[in-house]
């Protein structure tokens, strides 16, 4: 049985090696200068790039942060600091955990029914909102866990000096936990950066360079999906390179945790 357990671990790690290795080999040749600066060429012409999708992804992620980070951090503060509301806290924590397990397709359709239909157009704004919703529970739970690691003696010392409670939270607790909260955010960011599902119903896609928040916008995961499903070899090269970029984006926060917060248990 021990051998079987080792075998199971080996198979999982072999799969990791296969996926990452294959994508590295296929993707590296496509990662040229023009990948980051060019825009799509007509079908059949080699070259071209993903600049429009990279810019779009940045805009969508930025918008998502505007929604997800304040909402998530404040909810995390509520869960960790407001001891008087413990009952409600349990319910909110449970809801956040349940929400983080929900398929992101529901967030996309929610924004479609409430924003896209009333704006009468797919837009970057709607896409950012949908991604923001996906972010909230992750940011909230990670913020809570990190805030709990701040020793109570620090709060007590600050309170004893006569600081009001909100100053204790804002100037003592949050800065102490800043690194952890920041890494929690990058983790949530990596999660949404590679997920095209909510965008199908909200931001859709755009073949051209566009920074207009009220118009559909391109993004890396959407372009990878489109290029994968298409039958053109030039597009496949771009898809592989894009996938390699996404893998790099999603591994970064894991490495950050390993280096800066060894032993921290990632919330999922």
């Amino acid at each position: 049985m021990v051998t079987l357990c080792i075998l199971a671990t080996g198979i999982l790690l072999a799969v990791l090696g296969l996926v990452v290795g294959y994508i590295a080999i296929q993707g590296l040749p496509g990662l040229s200068w023009s990948f980051f600066t060019g825009t799509p060429r007509p079908i059949g012409e080699a070259g071209g790039g993903m600049a429009h999708a990279i810019a779009g992804s940045f805009i969508l992620i930025g918008l998502a942060c505007l929604v997800g980070i304040p909402w998530g951090v404040l909810t995390g503060i509520f869960l960790a600091e407001m001891k008087r509301w413990r009952r409600l806290g349990t319910l909110v924590r449970f809801t956040a955990d349940v929400l983080s397990g929900m398929p992101s397709i529901t967030a996309g359709i929610f924004i479609y029914t409430s924003v896209v239909i009333s704006m009468q157009t797919f837009s970057a704004l709607a896409g950012g909102l949908a991604l923001g919703i996906v972010m909230i529970p992750l940011v909230a739970r990670n913020t809570e866990e990190i805030l709990r690691l701040v020793p109570a003696s620090m709060r007590e010392a600050a309170l004893a000096l006569g600081l009001p409670y909100w100053r204790v939270v804002v100037s003592i607790v949050l800065p102490t936990a800043a690194r952890g909260i920041g890494i929690g955010m990058t983790m949530a960011l990596a999660g949404i950066a590679g997920d095209p599902v909510p965008l199908f119903f909200t931001a859709l896609n755009n073949n051209y360079w566009s920074l207009d928040l009220r118009q559909p916008i391109a993004s890396l995961p959407m372009e990878i999906f489109r290029y994968t499903a298409a039958p053109f070899a030039e597009w496949h090269t771009l898809a592989w390179a894009g996938a390699l970029v996404l893998i790099a984006i999603s591994f970064t926060p894991m490495l950050l945790v390993r280096i800066f917060l060894p032993g921290y248990r990632i919330r999922r």
Binding site: T9, I23, F78, W85, F110, T113, Y165, W166, I224
Partner: protein, 322 residues
């Protein structure tokens, strides 16, 4: 009255208005989160309205999906989701359980950290990347090697008959297994770590082998939590969209053969949403999303309850030990 006033005095006096602001904002965000889940459900339910009133329960049992005639039944999609999820879980179960036991109980300590980190990385890879890999690497490999082999040796089973495509139920199940295994492994590992050390030491003192310790002392106590981890994996598999869409073959058929292409609840929404012209078609797609929302909500609630119970039980166990 007097008692009430006194109680209010005994609470922390709100001297600084900033306290009220911070507290207000925090409570508002927390309540907003509850409201958000409710609103998501409500909006999806309302948008599915036309299809709900038109087809009702028969939507779940009907096999006809005809956008032109305006008749919609989701059975092939529900079947596709259930069969791929079930197969994915069956494939993932031994892998993730074995890996979790090895990482939590058997591996030497330095190895645990490194391998555990690698498994976590596997969990962090975005689903579209798995989809791309499944489409270009896994599906052709299945078509060339695994499916002919299965057909040759197990062809007497209806599961392994019929034309081979590469993309299909089998490919989707394998991709799902690859995607949920790291998640289930990571959570099972944390759950196993909650089992009190004393239980292991007692058996070790009796001269048990490492595997006997795991089987007798660890697994029975961790059962609730491991079931919770698998339930969480189930929820993820049910709602998995991108990778499945790229490898399932996208054909609404109910077939015994695992080689056959199929369609899942998520993949049909992704494929048809942009092309849906009639409002009834859109409503029918959102109707599918509503079913998915309700099922994954239930599954996730169950999963979290199981894991919470295990975490609390684990802490109580520690207390006993002390």
């Amino acid at each position: 009255m007097a008692v009430k006033q006194q109680r209010q005095k005994m609470r922390r006096p709100c001297i600084d208005p900033g306290d009220g602001v911070l507290q207000g904002l925090a409570i508002l965000s927390a309540l907003g989160l509850l409201l958000l889940v409710f609103l998501i459900g409500l909006q999806i339910w309302r948008a599915a309205g036309p299809s709900l009133t038109r087809f009702g329960w028969s939507f779940i049992f009907s096999r006809t999906w005809d956008p032109v005639a305006g008749v919609f039944g989701a059975l092939p999609y529900i079947y596709g989701t259930l069969i791929t999820t079930l197969l994915g879980l069956i494939l993932a179960a031994p892998l993730s359980l074995g890996a979790a036991i090895f990482l939590a109980e058997l591996a030497p300590r330095p190895l645990r950290t490194v391998l555990g980190f690698l498994v976590d990385m596997l969990a962090a890879i975005p689903s579209i990347v798995y989809g791309l890999w499944g489409n270009f690497v896994l599906a052709p490999w299945l078509l060339r090697f695994l499916e002919p082999w299965l057909g040759q040796h197990f062809g007497w089973l209806p599961l392994f008959q019929g034309p081979m495509y590469g993309t299909g139920i089998l490919a989707a199940a394998i991709i799902l297994a690859i995607m949920i295994s790291p998640l289930v492994t990571a959570i099972s590992r944390e759950v196993l770590a909650l089992v009190p050390t004393g239980q292991r030491e007692a058996l070790q003192a009796l001269g048990a082998t490492p595997w006997e310790v795991v089987r007798v002392a660890v697994l029975p106590s961790a059962r609730t939590g491991i079931i919770g981890a698998f339930t969480l994996g189930l929820g993820k598999a049910l709602g998995e969209t991108m990778a499945v869409t790229l490898v399932i073959g996208n054909r609404p058929e109910i077939s015994w053969s695992l080689f056959a292409p199929a369609h899942t609840m998520t993949s049909v929404i992704i494929n048809e949403f942009a092309e849906a012209i009639t409002s009834l078609h859109v409503a029918a797609l959102i109707h599918i999303a509503l079913l998915l929302f309700l099922v994954t909500l239930l599954v996730n609630i169950l999963a979290r309850l199981l894991i919470y119970r295990m975490e609390r039980g684990g802490k109580d166990g520690m207390m006993h030990e002390l």
